[in-house]
């Protein structure tokens, strides 16, 4: 049963991830991204990390992607035309970078072995909260500072006469 569900969610995740890339219309791309995020949440639930799964949906699918779709609708972006290739030079950078990322992921997967997320209570809100406020306190606080700075930047952009 679990294996069946795993392959279902994995197939949906992979299919929608590919669909994000090949769609010409940006709205369809972002809708596929939402599907991808929900499929990944399903995978989290299979690993008994319910908290991560739910937070993933709330933050990304429920808040950030709504803003994406909102902006796409507001600007009423047309589908991409063929022939206009503004990102020609970026491809040259992108391919090595992609390969590098793939290499890093492969290396991580290679080195991690014998870990099972289903046994301990790693996915509960209590465990995540405790590790955020003890082991990872500095990164956590620095991230909040970064978000605050981004917020202030947005205010400065929006208000011409401050």
């Amino acid at each position: 049963m679990i294996e069946l569900l795993f392959f279902l969610f994995a197939a949906v995740a992979l299919g929608s991830a590919i669909n994000v890339l090949i769609q010409r219309h940006v709205l369809y791309s972002s809708l596929s991204l939402i599907l991808l995020l929900t499929a990944i949440s399903g995978l989290f639930i299979l690993m008994q990390a319910e908290f991560l799964a739910v937070i993933n949906v709330i933050v990304y699918a429920g808040a950030i992607m709504v803003l994406f779709v909102f902006v796409i609708m507001l600007l009423n972006l047309p589908a991409d035309e063929d022939g206009v290739d503004r990102l020609r030079w970026l491809k040259l950078v992108g391919i090595p970078m992609g390969l590098f990322l793939l290499l890093m992921i492969a290396r991580t997967v290679w080195r991690v072995e014998g870990v099972s997320a289903t046994t301990d209570l790693a996915g509960t809100p209590q465990a995540i909260g405790a590790s955020l406020f003890t082991d990872y306190l500095l990164p956590f606080e620095l991230t909040s500072l970064l978000i605050l700075i981004a917020l202030m930047g947005a205010v400065v952009f929006a208000k011409k006469d401050l």
Binding site: I55, I58, V66, V69
Partner: protein, 336 residues
């Protein structure tokens, strides 16, 4: 897998699913009738009273009418998304009932983050509205969808933040244990969270009205400006799905308010064994009904506010109130 599908556990679960789904759908249909009759009484007119005794068969007649109506698709609409939008707003609305405990045993799933799961599911409901408004390729639906998504994003914040106080008191994210923590009484006052968290309750209730796009916050479908908002171009069963989703969201918000602030299924228990089994669900449904009643009376009596007032109220009144409530509650929880 076949073993599981024929096992006793699954059959019990299936029976529960049927009871909850059937009960909720039936209740939704009759909520529309109650709302129309109640609005009519407030406005001193008879309301729908022709179909059956007291108009009790009106929801069935409405359902049949929705089924047989012509299905129209506007020209130049995005057909795929136009058809998908009602489904996308109906699925999240019904999915949240999967974790709501209607009684000590009458619940489909019991996971330890069920409260967050409901927020996650309901936050996906906005896509149905946004896509429905966009795919119709018409100006009023687009305006309605814009307003609705901005409004739902703004009020979701204060809605989510208002329950943090309750979570800090009960120390759990599971709806079942939130209800269990409210058992018992202080002398004669029931041990409900509303007495510990009155500010959070007010913030939750007001943002709940805005979150479900009801009057006085129904800017998304304000009839005088936008015809009917995001579902202007929808007819027949597709419109009915939007309509039912709105009522289902209303019931979900009321059920959550009952669970978190009014003690869920807790209530006096008496009588023979079958009454002791049924009474918790009866109390739960009664409390939800009170909320729905207030919703309808608010709709019938209070006029719609302006859009800038709506945004001002959400960001500058409710959100600071919810944050202040979190601060005060965490301070008190730490001290006491």
């Amino acid at each position: 897998m076949i073993d599981y599908l024929t096992s006793r556990d699954f059959l019990i679960l299936f029976a529960k699913m049927m009871v909850i789904f059937g009960g909720v759908m039936g209740a939704l249909a009759y909520t529309t009738l109650v709302e129309r009759r109640l609005m009519a009484f407030v406005q001193m007119r008879p309301g729908p009273n022709r179909v059956g005794p007291f108009g009790l068969l009106q929801p069935i007649a409405d359902g049949l009418k929705f089924l047989f109506k012509e299905q129209t698709v506007p020209g130049n609409a995005n057909v795929l998304l136009y058809y998908a939008a009602p489904v996308l707003s109906m699925i999240p609305a019904l999915l949240s009932f999967s974790v709501i405990p209607f009684g000590p045993d009458l619940k489909i799933a019991d996971i330890n983050v069920s409260l967050l799961l409901i927020f996650a599911i309901t936050s996906l409901g906005v896509y149905g509205i946004v896509l429905g408004g966009w795919a119709s390729n018409s100006k009023y639906p687009l305006m309605g969808a814009m307003r609705s998504s901005a409004q739902m994003l703004s009020y979701e914040l204060s809605l989510t933040l208002s329950v943090v106080g309750v979570l800090m008191i009960t120390n759990s994210l599971s709806l079942t244990s939130i209800v269990q923590s409210q058992q018992g009484t202080w002398w004669f006052i029931p041990k409900w969270n509303i007495f510990l968290q009155p500010v959070a309750f007010v913030v939750y209730f007001l943002s709940g009205i805005a979150e479900t796009n009801r009057l006085p916050f129904d800017l998304a479908e304000s009839e005088q400006e936008l015809v009917a908002g995001w579902h202007t171009e929808y007819s027949g069963m597709k419109f009915a799905m939007f309509f039912l989703a709105e009522y289902a969201n209303m019931v979900t918000v009321s059920a959550l308010a009952t669970i978190m602030f009014l003690g869920g299924w807790n209530g006096p228990s008496f009588g023979p064994w079958w009454m002791e089994m049924a009474l918790p669900t009866v109390w739960f449904v009664l409390k939800i009904t009170v909320f729905l009643f207030i919703y309808m009376l608010v709709r019938a009596t209070i006029p719609r506010i302006r859009y800038d007032q709506l945004m001002y109220f959400g960001w500058k009144v409710l959100l600071p109130l919810a944050l202040a409530n979190i601060l005060v509650t965490s301070f008190l929880v730490a001290v006491l």
